[in-house]
């Protein structure tokens, strides 16, 4: 039995840039991220501002648990990678500009030099390759698109950087035994199952829980309690929608 995935999450990779304003390498991270988001892989990537992990809500902090993320850092302080891991989830990949580019002539944080702009190209290409690896896509460089045997990317999206400011990741708090647990993507999963006609009490439990587990680790020995709590919420969801 295959796992039913909500539409939104699995096809995107999250990009988190340090964007550090005190050094040219920070500008390289920001512009490289934008190059990937706007030009190289616009349909496969989404971004979030690093500070939003702290300033946003739980949905924003769930970003890296929802998307596999690539952290792009300007220096070995690795603010993006460490911040993402600290507040959201461990990045799937990490790139540090000072390790990828061996030059001190990038320009300034405000204005990159020609060398700095070349560094943007190099870092952006590395990030794009990481995106492909994470999505399992083989990129046809001649055609500038996924190779035919790969799953085609979704079209119809505007080629501008999409950030998740304010949108957040849908979450739902559920009481499991005596504890309140935050489930990522639960509203989306419920909606998708109900729309597919997989109603509560209709043998959908195993499939629904498999999907829930993609985004939400279930502690050892608590599967029964989690299943009971999630299915209780799903029954309430279906009843409310009727």
């Amino acid at each position: 039995m295959g796992v039913t995935m909500p539409d939104l999450p699995k096809k995107k990779v999250g990009i988190v840039a340090c964007s550090g304003e005190e050094m040219a390498e920070g500008a390289v991270t920001r512009l490289a991220a934008l190059r990937v988001l706007e030009q190289l892989r616009p349909n496969e990537t989404v971004t979030i501002c690093l500070p939003l992990f702290l300033a946003g809500g739980e949905g924003d902090r769930a970003f890296a648990r929802f998307y596999p993320t690539i952290a792009i850092d300007g220096c070995d302080k690795r603010c993006a990678a460490r911040g993402t891991e600290m507040y959201s989830g461990k990045p799937a990949a990490s790139i540090v500009v000072t390790e990828a580019i061996q030059t001190n002539h990038l320009g300034t944080a405000r204005r990159l030099s020609e060398t700095g702009m070349q560094a943007v190209d190099v870092v952006a290409e590395q990030v794009a390759q990481q995106v492909d690896e994470l999505l399992g896509v083989t990129w046809d460089r001649k055609q500038g698109q996924p190779s035919k045997e790969a799953q085609p990317a979704e079209e119809s999206e505007a080629k501008i950087a999409t950030c998740s400011c304010g949108s957040g990741i849908p979450i739902q708090k559920v009481r499991v035994d005596s504890q309140e647990v935050t489930f990522i993507a639960l509203p989306l999963i419920f909606e998708q199952f109900r729309d597919a006609g997989k109603l509560s009490g209709d043998g959908a439990t195993a499939e629904l829980m498999e999907t829930v587990k993609v985004y939400n680790p279930i502690p050892d020995g608590q599967e029964a309690a989690y299943t009971q709590a999630v299915m209780r919420e799903y029954a309430a969801f279906c009843q409310e929608k009727n």
Binding site: G26, P51, A55, C165, G166
Partner: protein, 158 residues
């Protein structure tokens, strides 16, 4: 001991307003008031970098947010910086780019990697507002805490 006014812009990379915030901050700290201001990157505050937090703690701060989520203002407040965000405050030091745009509706910013002409001019207008705030804050500091007066004046005030 000298204490500069800390300028903390939004570090957003997904919207034009974030770019305007960053560009405005650069203009203040590099062109208009280089001797009395200091730019602190938001990413360092997020990580709790000791030096960045020490620079912000107890300092007069001006935050420039790109959107209503106000990441810069929240992070500065959390780091112990003094930022007046209440609209009724006599000297509000928490700025939002959208509010500046409302005062300059002819300067519509577009582009993220590179701002259009309207965005550049909006960043200049924002920087002028910030510079005025810096002057008011530094005037209110005791003489022993001021640093360098207005030596940074002379930037072109577009």
């Amino acid at each position: 001991m000298t204490q500069r006014v800390v300028i903390v812009p939004c570090s957003g990379i997904g919207k034009s307003y974030g770019t305007v915030a960053r560009e405005g901050a650069f203009r203040v700290t590099e062109d208009l008031r280089p001797d009395t201001t200091q730019l602190i990157p938001l990413s360092l505050l997020v990580l709790g970098d000791e030096q960045a937090r020490a620079d912000v703690a107890g300092a007069q701060a001006i935050t420039i947010d790109g959107c209503k989520l106000a990441c810069a203002t929240k992070m500065v407040a959390e780091s112990g910086g003094q930022v007046a965000r209440d609209p009724s405050a006599s000297l509000r030091t928490s700025l939002v780019v959208l509010d500046v745009f409302r005062r300059h509706r002819d300067l519509k910013p577009q582009g993220v990697s590179e701002l259009n002409e309207g965005g550049q001019q909006l960043a200049h207008a924002l920087a002028d507002e910030v510079a005025t705030l810096v002057d008011q804050l530094t005037d209110s500091l005791p003489l022993t805490q001021r640093n360098g007066g207005r030596a940074g004046d002379g930037g072109d005030n577009a």
